[in-house]
Symmetry: C2
Amino acid sequence: MTVDSLIVPDPPLEPYVRLVPLGGCGEIGRNMTLVETNDDMVAVDCGLMFPDEEMFGVDIVINDFTYIRERASKFRAVLVTHGHEDHIGGIPYLLREFDVPVVGTDLSLALIKAKAKEHRFDQQKFQTIEAGESIRFGSIDAEFVHINHSVSGACALAIRTPAGLIFHTGDFKFDQTPIDGRPADFATIAEVGDEGVLCMLSDSTNAERPGHTLSERVVGEAFSTIFSRAKGRIIVASFASNVPRIQQVVDHAVRFDRKVAFLGRSLQNVMRYASELGYLRVPPERVIQIEEVDDYPPAQVVVMTTGSQGEPMSALTRMSVRDHRKFKIVAGDTVVISATPIPGNEKSVYRTINNLYKLGATVVHGTDGKSHVSGHASQEELLLMLNLVRPKYFIPVHGEYRMLVMHGQLAVRTGVAPEHILTCENGDVIEFCGGEGDKVGKTYGGHVMVDGSGVGDVGDAVLRDRKALSNDGIMMVVVTIDSEEARIIAGPDVVTRGVLYLPESDGVMNELRNELTGIIENCSLEGIRDLNTVKEHIRNGLSRSIYARTKRRPIVIPVVMEV
Amino acid sequence: MTVDSLIVPDPPLEPYVRLVPLGGCGEIGRNMTLVETNDDMVAVDCGLMFPDEEMFGVDIVINDFTYIRERASKFRAVLVTHGHEDHIGGIPYLLREFDVPVVGTDLSLALIKAKAKEHRFDQQKFQTIEAGESIRFGSIDAEFVHINHSVSGACALAIRTPAGLIFHTGDFKFDQTPIDGRPADFATIAEVGDEGVLCMLSDSTNAERPGHTLSERVVGEAFSTIFSRAKGRIIVASFASNVPRIQQVVDHAVRFDRKVAFLGRSLQNVMRYASELGYLRVPPERVIQIEEVDDYPPAQVVVMTTGSQGEPMSALTRMSVRDHRKFKIVAGDTVVISATPIPGNEKSVYRTINNLYKLGATVVHGTDGKSHVSGHASQEELLLMLNLVRPKYFIPVHGEYRMLVMHGQLAVRTGVAPEHILTCENGDVIEFCGGEGDKVGKTYGGHVMVDGSGVGDVGDAVLRDRKALSNDGIMMVVVTIDSEEARIIAGPDVVTRGVLYLPESDGVMNELRNELTGIIENCSLEGIRDLNTVKEHIRNGLSRSIYARTKRRPIVIPVVMEV
């Protein structure tokens, strides 16, 4: 089925359940799957994706809500598995359009509400649920099941419908020795498996990685080594939402008698919410303000910050180029980047590391496999999940295409029938009825780009222009002619950006103006009065001329005004 | 010493040798080091670097030749360690300006001459040398020493000067079981060490990697497994210059009775040169044209191609999106990407892999650690080189800053005095005299960007414009006014690219035009006649207005013509 055939057939009259992944299949980010029965529909998550390098100027990418829009009357709720941006970042945009409750654990909801400064929310829309509890929306009953991940309060979902039981793992790992002492709820997962799962959707992020993802506790061991050796200050960069990681930094600060300062608003927000909700235990006397750091000897300070991905405006990146207002890296500092680069971020992460070295810091980074561990299940855990749940059908989600393929191959090894592996692209509509299921149609699953306040108005045409502009710049020719004989009254002026270094291009610009005058006068002499034809002559003449001089092909725009 | 202090003091009267790294220190690419004595100067390599994602529209980056230009009369030669682009890519630009011989092994020179289609060369300038031979330019004597690397004919250089012996490793690894049967020339390296090396410069690319880089032979073992299992066609993507890798593909084609087709001009060029020079043994009856592939059963074909880095226009990338004129990937094909992504290329490489999976191919990629091995020495080899050469001073080169730092730490472990580790930035001038040396000055070591036919004319200002254009586009306002009363005669027209999707923005554009008319008429009424002031009003008004509507900040250019 190709993208062109956007056809969703009418559903059957018998009880059915449809699964529609709108994002996260064949990509990392903007995870969202619709679960739809005859009378009701819920969304599992509603995430955002960060733009890739070809999406010039785009702030974030969200999902296409067309399928929901067309069935708005049966849309009941958003169920949130956990509070990461790739699972919650699209919710503000969804709520602008649909008045439904958002259901999740307390920390997940706190992380959504933290966006309140950017977006207005109706507080009554949020419904807190605890792992182990269920919530019903008409014919759909969703049970939240505790699993492990790199943020606290993360859940899988057992979704019971009249047409069968759907199990969605969310993002997960199996941590047998988690920092909060709560391994995944194996008992419930096994019971759900016993009950009979029609279809499982599972996290494919690490499906290519053999073995077992290491426990968060391993990071603690690495921290112990680092904290015991460092003679100066320690700076730890991580994701703000990684509550277990924050806990480990705090625990080591206590153990090695260092004060801890939290740098950055997002980190302070998470610290406050997670502490209030009991996910984080921070002795108040241990915390200092970033302004107080210099009041303590270097060996008694640890600073937590964001910027583990080399984001240009982040605290760590600014520190690395001595551009941070409140904190300066000095020789003797130890910087721990407790994360690995997300694909595409390698260059900026390593640039930051290089710059930190130039400032004399020692840098430990997550690629050592110890000072960071992944939050996602590797192959052995994925196999364990498959063996616990024993689904009839399997949809690998949350991953690029090759990861989905690999995850499907793992499922076959555990006994799922190869024809029951449904490797999806975004927008595929999967329908189950009478215990059997398959792809039955396709809805809009494309990227909706958010740029400034515009949602979806930047499309391929605008991006093509931005790309062309970024490659070779733009040249504009402006001329005023009289409407009778098409003779030049004013101009031609040449305005340009991104083509040539102007202070050194006076000669070239004069030559171009003279050539253009010749072209326009020729048109006049040859009796060419049609403005579009005149413009075409200008465009072709200038393009040729600039290419001959520079081998560059800027966008050329002629503006001819008649008076 | 900061970049601002571009000062190179006068050299001493006593015999001295200066080392000036112009590129490759603190970056991957454009490797080049000048070696200068009282009367003579040679360059070791002259490479290019590929632009990073911030260098919009730039084709390649080369070195700043100012230091050479200022000492042109003593500039004698370019010594080429091996034929990779990051060591030879800048030579055509250097030869435009300086009439000096280029010295290297036959294959290195063949790879330089292969650029003849793009650049005109004086063939007499090329001087072939064999490993084991020396060449003298006045007071500088350079001995070429065989080492292993991912291209054949690679050498280190022992450079004897009146002020001491400089050893430059070039890019190297120690392969104890190389495909061509020629391990590095340990004897000569050890003898050079015995002779007493004043300063060594050494390849830092893999300085962060523990252990020993695997032998090229390991790739053969991986190929054996792949070739014995694949039931369909095999497609191998690698770098065109990787002669040992090409040999392995050919050897396996012979062993598993497959015909081999070479796809792409660069690969065919290398194949021809390397065969003629005896570096590659290809039975002619084994080779078929790409057009003949369909004449053979899939199990009897292997295709070699380029595109291992996901380069947009490369053969493999085109195949992955079914855009290659001569070759279509089909289900059952096995694609071997015999390379690892260069940092920054990960996204495009993985995009290619995902697309190949979607076409039904099986993909094996270099990240398995077997179907590709690095051409650069890991820590144990770097330590071995240090122990063989036992230099008094050490300059880590060819690497990002953190790699240079790490390599310096390795050198200290082998006994080099910490104060004799000279971690350089590009443009640093290191001077040795009387057996002692240090940084004495700084010359221009910045990026010279090549865009089209322009060398160095694209600078920060043009790049800033291109970046701004790529983020939010550009809006131009054109209006013709009468010079007496500044009343509108024609316009205002608004021309825009990369801001809004125009077919849907008619309403907005009309509103903007009306607002602009108001602004200009106001100027007229208020008696504002100064064109710059009118333009300022237009610019501010339009910027505000477009930001209020879209939260975007395009470049706004007002063009006001007076008649």
